[in-house]
């Protein structure tokens, strides 16, 4: 099934007269930058999921809140779909434009408005880059904890819209745990303040609801985040294992020992070798799996925990356990992991990154299942894994220039996600549903659940103008996808039983 907006399955979109809309916008907002020529629009045709491209009808690049407000009111009155975009690094096509819609780029809202070290908060505009917040807080010994690998580029508005994670989530939480307040404009151009500088707010927790809502409920115009004091020290241990099962057992044993590492990452052999070739991190290339375990905090505690983790890994059957001897080696250990995607990119003309989550105990079975599916589809899969919180990133290697390979990669990806759902996991841990996983939503949720999601949407945007076609599939699409048979305890995908 094609991933681009399909009016037959995703619902009809209003017919918008581009010329008239452009005129109306220019009239109402003479100082707003609007792109409308084909060659200007082209660069905006995709986000980080570059296999899917659609040229937007118009692109608006506002700098002031009032511009966004007026623009939304105008779009609302004229029934124009609006797709928000931050930095466009999303990996699920959440900011993929619509031919019949306006792309609202929030990237120019890039000011850090206020840092209050005593209150440990930062108030920023939505286009501010994730890393820029930590950089601005650094002089005070503070930082913003969620650290997606894309943090040099992605925007905090996009982070809130995706509920982005990072390698330190298990200990420090996701975006939803680190945001205190957002300012929002509804599609009607009304201003809402959700959350506050206090730790909770009156009424329903709409801040939680809006976090991860992928631009379907409102436009985020300001974000107040929590800042944390930087840990005194961070140490990393590398454990090599001759089987993925043993590495998985070591993860469970570390947690059973009452230790919550700052980061706990696993890589399989294909990923290890790719990273080692690329970064020379010092990884054991013969290992079937490695674990990177980072312990951070106060020096004395970290020292004790390193000792404990070393013992636990050894007891779980590690063939070697190494502690980074100095900061340079620690950085090298992490560089291998953080560059795993591009490293794997060197093995193959293209790769496709998945984002399923599973209960950790299912890891060996799921990895086995992935490798069998890979064989079945004739494609290699490398695995990097936020092992602490069960978030897998299988990377499917393919060559888009070979006829049919992209299609096979997508089909394999879909199967992997369905396998995650089958073992009690989720189709997405941090990258979002966007457009990419719209069909797999039909596997994770039944039609009543999907209808309730649409009902939530209708409370904020009854006309469905904000980012239509993303995040929640229509029942029509699911019927076509043919996966509506998951229900009350009945396991779907009998064809996968052999795993």
């Amino acid at each position: 099934m094609n991933i681009l907006y399909d009016e037959r399955l995703d619902g009809p979109l209003p017919e918008v007269n581009k010329g008239e809309l452009l005129k109306a916008l220019q009239h109402a907002l003479p100082d707003l930058d609007i792109l409308w020529r084909e060659d200007e629009l082209k660069p905006y045709e995709c986000d980080g999921l570059s296999a899917y491209r659609t040229t937007p009808m118009l692109v608006a690049l506002p700098r002031r809140l009032e511009q966004v407000q007026t623009l939304l009111k105008l779009c609302h009155q004229n029934n124009v779909p609006v797709v928000a975009r931050g930095a466009g690094t999303g990996l699920s096509g959440g900011a993929l434009p619509l031919e019949k819609g306006l792309l609202l780029v929030m990237a120019r809202f890039n000011s850090i408005l206020h840092i209050d070290p005593a209150a440990r908060i930062a108030r920023v505009q939505p286009g501010v880059r994730n890393l820029a917040i930590s950089q601005a807080a650094a002089p005070f010994g503070l930082y913003y904890a969620p650290d997606p690998s894309s943090q040099i580029a992605c925007s905090i508005g996009g982070n809130v819209a995706e509920n982005a994670g990072g390698v330190h989530c298990l200990k420090y939480g996701l975006t939803v745990h680190n945001v205190l307040k957002i300012e929002v404009l509804t599609i009607e151009g009304e201003r809402l303040t959700l959350g506050s500088e206090a730790l909770d707010s009156a009424g329903f927790d709409l801040l939680a609801l809006f976090t991860g809502s992928e631009g379907l409920l409102g436009i985020i115009t300001e974000v107040t985040v929590k800042l944390l004091p930087k840990p005194q020290v961070a140490k990393v241990l590398l454990g090599g294992f001759d089987s993925v099962e043993k590495a998985g057992r070591a993860v469970a044993a570390i947690i059973a020992a009452g230790i919550i590492p700052g980061g706990l990452e696993m890589m399989d052999n294909l990923a290890i070798r790719a990273a080692e070739d690329f970064i020379h991190a010092g990884y054991p290339v013969d290992a079937e799996a490695i674990l990177l375990c980072e312990l951070d905090g106060v020096e004395a505690d970290v020292h004790d925990d390193c000792q404990r983790v070393r013992e636990v890994m050894t007891a779980a059957g590690a063939t070697e356990v190494r502690q980074a001897q100095d900061e340079a080696e620690r950085v090298r250990f992490w560089a291998g992991r953080k560059n795993a995607f591009p490293a794997i990119g060197r093995l193959s003309p293209d790769y496709y990154c998945m984002d399923g989550t599973i209960p950790r105990r299912e890891l060996p079975a799921v990895l086995q299942g992935i490798s069998r599916l890979g064989e079945e589809y004739g494609l290699r899969v490398a695995n990097v894994f936020h092992a602490g919180d069960g978030n897998m990133h299988p990377l499917i290697l393919f060559d888009a220039n070979q006829p049919g390979e992209l299609h096979r990669a997508e089909a394999l990806g879909g199967k992997i996600l369905e396998l995650c759902v089958k073992v009690g996991g989720s189709i997405t841990g941090e990258h979002g549903v966007g457009r990419e996983k719209i069909n797999q939503m039909c596997a994770q949720f039944n039609s009543d659940e999907l209808l309730l999601f649409h009902a939530v949407k209708a409370a904020f945007d009854p006309q469905g103008l904000l980012n239509p076609g993303k995040n929640i599939p229509t029942l029509h699409r699911c019927a076509e996808f043919g996966a509506m048979h998951i229900h009350a305890g009945q396991l779907p995908f009998p064809e996968l039983e052999r795993f």
């Binding site: 500088e197 206090a198 919550i260 505690d301 989720s426 939530v456 209708a458 995040n471």
Partner: protein, 349 residues
Amino acid sequence: MADFDAANALLDQVDAARANATPLKIQGGNSKAFLGREVAGEVLDTRAHRGIVQYDPTELVVTVRAGTPLSELLAALDDAGQMLPCEPPSFADSATVGGMIAAGLSGPRRPWSGSVRDFVLGTRVITGLGQHLRFGGEVMKNVAGYDLSRLMAGSFGCLGVLTEVSLKVLPKPRQCLSIRLDIDCVRALSKLAEWGQQPLPISAACHDGQSLYLRLEGGEGSVTAAHQRLGGEPLDSVFWRDLNEQRLSFFDEGLPLWRLSLPNNLGPLELPGEQLIDWAGAQRWVKSESTEIHALAQSFGGHATCFTHGATGSPFQPLAPTLLRYHRQLKAQLDPQGLFNPGRMYAEV
């Protein structure tokens, strides 16, 4: 009482309420009946639906039926050396897990650990359309669809009947030590602001007008070092339970009790009544007959809730008109007949 899956009976009662258009008053242990507005309706008692459905300590997740006594859940976690880091109060032995989530109240550790909603991973809910649905799950990270599970936390049962929740749990800290420092409130709050910017293992901070009470939690090394640095008198850790369960003498019957949730760096505040500071300043309890508490809390950038039954007709902070409109629209979508706890939070919702 034994573990029992009574979801179908709950569903039948919701169906009957739908058919007869009679509102339901959702009730767990009814320990928090004092909280919120009076609800007229037939009682829907969740307590038959109880038991831990799944608990694997190494996954750091527990799934439990809503009618389970909170004390039973806490005991099971304790046996495995784990805890609910948000430290929800029970206020009574009868408190249930569903009531705990729906009330969304967190204890002294909240500013450092996160709130009840922060630990919610998944829920099963009976909706106003009489459907039993599942949102979120038992995994730490899950961004598929809207986050309806966390929305349920603190919604006082106005959006649906919780039947099951999955919660993230954590190991108990290796070391825990409580101290009392006899410093005044001005100095205490300024010290707390300073310490907050340093990697100190503080996990609770309360000031009662006389002394600052601190809890240190972490590894042996960090707790010992922090204790050496901060000094102070040893304090029995039962203090935190008494604070959480409102058993300190401050909470003795008397004037209406208000909870103010405020930005954490306001410093000392003149409030119209005796006050107790918790959460390092971010939560303040005030005993007062003033009718201006909501306005006052708002002027400080926070909100207030009255914890004394009947002291005011609107215990929760009034919402701004636009926000209230979206609350009503959301309620109308999820509970179109207005069956669940109508008016418990707000007359209009």
